[in-house]
């Protein structure tokens, strides 16, 4: 334990027992402005077992191994989440008995209730060990404490950015390159985002036959919104690479053709307009030279 953490751990019990109006005796160890969330650090409807007495203090983030912002959990955050009625130990089960072991038991804890999602996750690529980094568990997408229902607008609209935290290659395919991306970027909730096509828990690469985007299932996935979509509908590219020229030769040709028209038109008429302006300039400057 660092000194800072020790200090912050030592301070709150005195505060919690001091009085129901915390502003009466601000702690000397921290400026009053830095602890705005402390007044609400009293056990709420979801029994937080006193955890937030320490974890509700911003100083808790300072640890021996550097700052760990995720340690700071206020009662307000829990109350705002869909898990407001749960107690901390409902998920952090080992903590009640053992103190503070560092372990990611998220999947096991979540699966206490969300069995189907846990199974789907384990069957997908996200549930397998990967060479590309740690496999994402529940909390990487849903967060640990600010859990909201997946239908929540903020969750839906922010989903693509969450996916992009690991799938950073998506940056090559900007949202402006496809209609779905443009619409979700602009706040449409009824438009498909990542998980609507790629599945939410059993996430698999499109090459996998079990993926909703496999060649056999792709059209059915399109049809879940676009009823009656014909076969060629599944050929529409959703992630089109950015850059001035698309990789697809046909789209590249279309872009080049339009660029040539654009450049030729403006080169010619720009030149003509410039000549016209010069002509007018000369005519108004030296009216005598013009024949009557």
């Amino acid at each position: 334990m660092t000194l800072a953490l020790a200090a912050s751990l030592a301070m709150p019990p005195a505060r919690a027992s001091a009085s129901p109006s915390p502003s009466a005796s601000p702690p000397a160890t921290a400026p009053a402005s830095s602890v705005p969330s402390v007044p609400s650090a009293s056990p709420g409807p979801g029994d937080t077992n006193g955890c937030v007495v320490c974890h509700g203090l911003p100083q808790i983030v300072h640890t021996q191994s550097g700052d760990r912002p995720e340690l700071w959990v206020t009662i307000d955050r829990i109350q705002a989440s869909v898990h407001a009625t749960l107690a901390c130990t409902d998920c952090h089960n080992p903590l009640a008995a053992t103190g503070h072991p560092v372990m990611d038991r998220a999947v096991g804890s979540c699966a206490t209730c969300h069995v189907a999602q846990q199974r789907a996750w384990a069957a997908g690529a996200h549930g397998r060990p990967s060479d590309e980094g740690p496999s994402p568990t529940c909390v990487m997408c849903h967060s640990a404490h600010d859990v909201v229902p997946p239908k929540d607008p903020a969750f839906r609209l922010g989903l693509s950015e969450r996916c992009a935290q690991c799938h950073s290659d998506i940056d090559q395919y900007p949202f402006t390159s496809n209609a779905l991306g443009m619409e979700t970027h602009l706040g449409r909730l009824d438009i498909a985002t990542c998980d609507d096509c790629h599945a939410a828990h059993e996430v698999l690469p499109p090459g996998d036959p079990r993926s909703p985007l496999s060649l056999t299932d792709r059209l059915a996935t399109c049809r879940s919104c676009h009823t009656g979509a014909p076969d060629s509908f599944a050929q529409i590219q959703i992630h089109v690479a950015s850059g001035p020229l698309p990789a697809d030769p046909r789209l590249r040709l279309a872009t080049l053709w339009m660029l040539i028209i654009l450049i030729v038109t403006f080169a010619f008429f720009g030149w003509l307009t410039a000549l016209g302006i010069r002509h007018e300039w000369r005519r108004t400057r030296a009216p005598d030279t013009e024949g009557a």
Binding site: T176, S177, N178, A179, M182, E183, H185, L186, G187, R188, H226, T227, G228, A229, P230, S232, F233, A234, Q235, I236, Q237, V240, P246, D248, R250, L251, A254, T255, M258, L259, I261, L262, T265, F266, F269, G270, L272, T273, L275, G276, I277, R278, H279, E280, R282, T284, E290, A292
Partner: protein, 294 residues
């Protein structure tokens, strides 16, 4: 024959009657007014949808309430755009039906369709602007006006069809391969940039902001062009003009509605033009900064 008189297209109060020629019927003027209205709406909704991070996008979304509002207005304006095209088809059909438009006149010197003389006119006009020759004897429409007209038809086809493909992707995919839906977005956005930049620079500078008619050429809004201007601007047409085609109108009676429309449109158009140019400057500056910073 130089524009020495101060009389403009609409005349000034208290002046003697002047002879004018009917250049555009009320139906044609309504077509242009509806088309311009629809194009303004399409630009002011389409541009923020395509470039939501531009500095002018969020105020426009406030104007349209939301992006869904902008998309809805875009589709309403698209319908008006097609309606203007339909009005023009009515013009052509009625012209053919009444015999006003004949195949012979369509390919004649006063047609809006281009002919070989326009190629010569382009060369001669460039020589004229360089001070090396006389002004070409334009017919009823100068070559840049013909280009405006054809560009409008081209633009309507490209932008209208690609827009319809994206609006109705499922029926479109029934008859088209999937990649065409992707290509539709490319065609639609490039053609929109082309059309917008063309309208607010070339069309405005060559048709409306010319010194002789500055700030707006009222003919497309009032329908009447003074006979004197016909002689100056379209000498070929002037020579062929039936003397009975012109009529005397009392001076100083400009149509207030036409003027309100003309000036409102000009204000909106110049507003968009300023935004387009500002964006170009901002983007160029951003590009230079990125270049310098490496």
């Amino acid at each position: 024959m130089r524009a020495t008189a101060t009389v403009r297209g609409l005349g000034a109060p208290g002046q003697a009657p002047q002879r004018v020629v009917r250049r555009f019927s009320w139906w044609q003027r309504a077509t242009h007014a509806l088309l311009a209205f629809a194009v303004f709406g399409l630009i002011l909704t389409g541009m923020p949808l395509r470039y939501p991070n531009a500095f002018w996008a969020s105020p426009l979304f406030v104007l349209w309430r939301s992006q869904a509002g902008a998309a809805a207005v875009h589709k309403v304006c698209a319908v008006l755009f097609f309606a203007a095209a339909g009005m023009h088809l009515v013009t052509i059909a009625s012209g053919l039906a009444t015999g006003k438009v004949r195949l012979r006149t369509l390919f004649g010197p006063d047609s809006i369709l281009p002919n070989p003389k326009d190629v010569r006119d382009v060369r001669q006009h460039i020589r004229y602007l360089k001070g090396l020759g006389p002004r070409p004897e334009f017919g009823r429409f100068a070559f840049w006006e013909k280009f405006d007209y054809l560009a409008e038809i081209w633009g309507l086809l490209v932008i209208g069809l690609s827009g319809l493909i994206m609006w109705f992707p499922v029926p479109a995919a029934r008859v088209l391969p999937g990649w065409v839906v992707n290509a539709a977005l490319i065609f639609h956005s490039y053609e929109a940039i082309l059309a917008m930049a063309f309208l607010f620079t070339v069309h405005f500078f060559n048709t409306h902001l010319r010194p002789e008619v500055f700030p707006v050429d009222p003919v497309i809004f009032t329908g009447d062009i003074p006979l004197r201007e016909v002689g100056e601007r379209y000498p070929g047409w002037y020579r062929r003009l039936d003397p009975s085609a012109s009529r005397a109108v009392p001076g100083g009676k400009p149509s207030p509605i036409a003027h309100v429309i003309a000036e409102t449109y000009m204000a909106v158009g110049i507003g968009i033009m300023v935004l387009v140019m500002l964006t170009a400057v901002v983007e160029a500056a951003r590009f230079l900064v990125a270049l310098i910073r490496g």
